[in-house]
Amino acid sequence: MDNFILTALASVLGIASIIGAYVAIHNSKLTVAIIATGIVSLVASVLFLLLAAPDVAMTEASIGSALTTAIFFFTLNKIRQ
């Protein structure tokens, strides 16, 4: 039963990350695309946690979803000037 719940959770997260990646590629608004890549990283970090790799999850959550997203936004703002 536990195994079933884990598999279901992992499938939902996997589908969410695929949807996020699709939005990131095909959305015409760049801000939406940047947030979508951040969501992909966040979902990936939860998946790493489920796969019993908490240290990788920490790195992914802080670098992948926080710092990278921020740097993308700074760069986007710079390009628009």
Binding site: D55, M58, T59, S62, L67, A70, F74
Partner: protein, 233 residues
């Protein structure tokens, strides 16, 4: 032939190349020989309760040094290309009003985020995480500081000194290992202590503390450079 057909053909070709890998994959119940060695002797050899840390810092310490070098190079390249002359700086950036929620929440959260980052790298030999993770958490605290306070500026001097000192100390501890213990980055230059206590695992907590400071200041510096470059015209 259209572009789309080409893409589909390429994907089919990739699948055909990778399929034998999937077909021949068998999940193994046993560790490899090397992994078995780490699992059996890791705790006695290094005194670290967290086996990942003992592999990352001691057995494969040289690789960690390489990673730190790569991060340092990346930060240097960013500061080289985004640096600008001080007289060109124009404070003409229009800053949107920052909401009350963000300023109040950041006052509560920033100290806690920094504390978490320090906790992660100080306890790297006991709990999951270590220098890189703690440094990244510290840098995300700095990011929140930049977002909640537009006048906030990093002191490049402090950052520069903390970063260089940490890097030098990391290498020096590694070199000390050659003379006082088994080899480069051997953690047995300090007593191993009792497993599962804070002051254990020899030099690992010291190395991770400096590694955390180095990674934290480096990533904060990169963020600071990006924020400063927003003012430039």
């Amino acid at each position: 032939m259209g572009k789309k057909t080409l893409i589909v053909l390429l994907m089919v070709a990739m699948a055909a190349v990778l399929y034998p890998l999937y077909e021949s994959y068998q999940g193994s119940e046993q560790l490899t020989e090397l992994g078995q060695y780490y699992a059996d002797n890791g705790v006695q050899d290094t005194g670290a309760a967290n086996l990942v840390t003992s592999v990352v810092v001691t057995y494969r310490g040289l690789d960690t040094l390489g990673e730190v070098t790569i991060l340092f190079l990346a930060a240097s390249v960013i500061s080289f290309f985004l640096s600008f002359k001080k007289e060109d700086r124009k404070e003409s950036r229009e800053i949107r009003n920052i909401t009350e929620i963000l300023t109040t929440a950041s006052q509560v959260l920033i100290p806690m985020i920094y504390m978490l980052g320090v906790y992660i790298f100080v306890n790297g030999h006991l709990t999951p995480g270590g220098g890189f993770q703690g440094g990244a958490v510290i840098a995300s605290g700095t990011l929140l500081m930049f977002l909640s306070n537009p006048d906030f500026k990093l002191s490049h001097k402090v950052i520069h000194y903390v970063e260089s000192t940490s890097g030098v100390v990391f290498v020096l501890i590694g070199v000390l290992g050659i003379f006082m213990a088994g080899g480069f980055l051997d953690n047995r230059i300090l007593g191993l202590g009792e497993v599962n206590t804070l002051f254990s695992a020899g030099a690992i907590p010291v190395i991770y503390t400096f590694l955390g400071l180095k990674v934290g200041t480096e990533l904060s510096n990169v963020l600071g450079i990006f924020v400063e470059s927003q003012n430039e015209q």
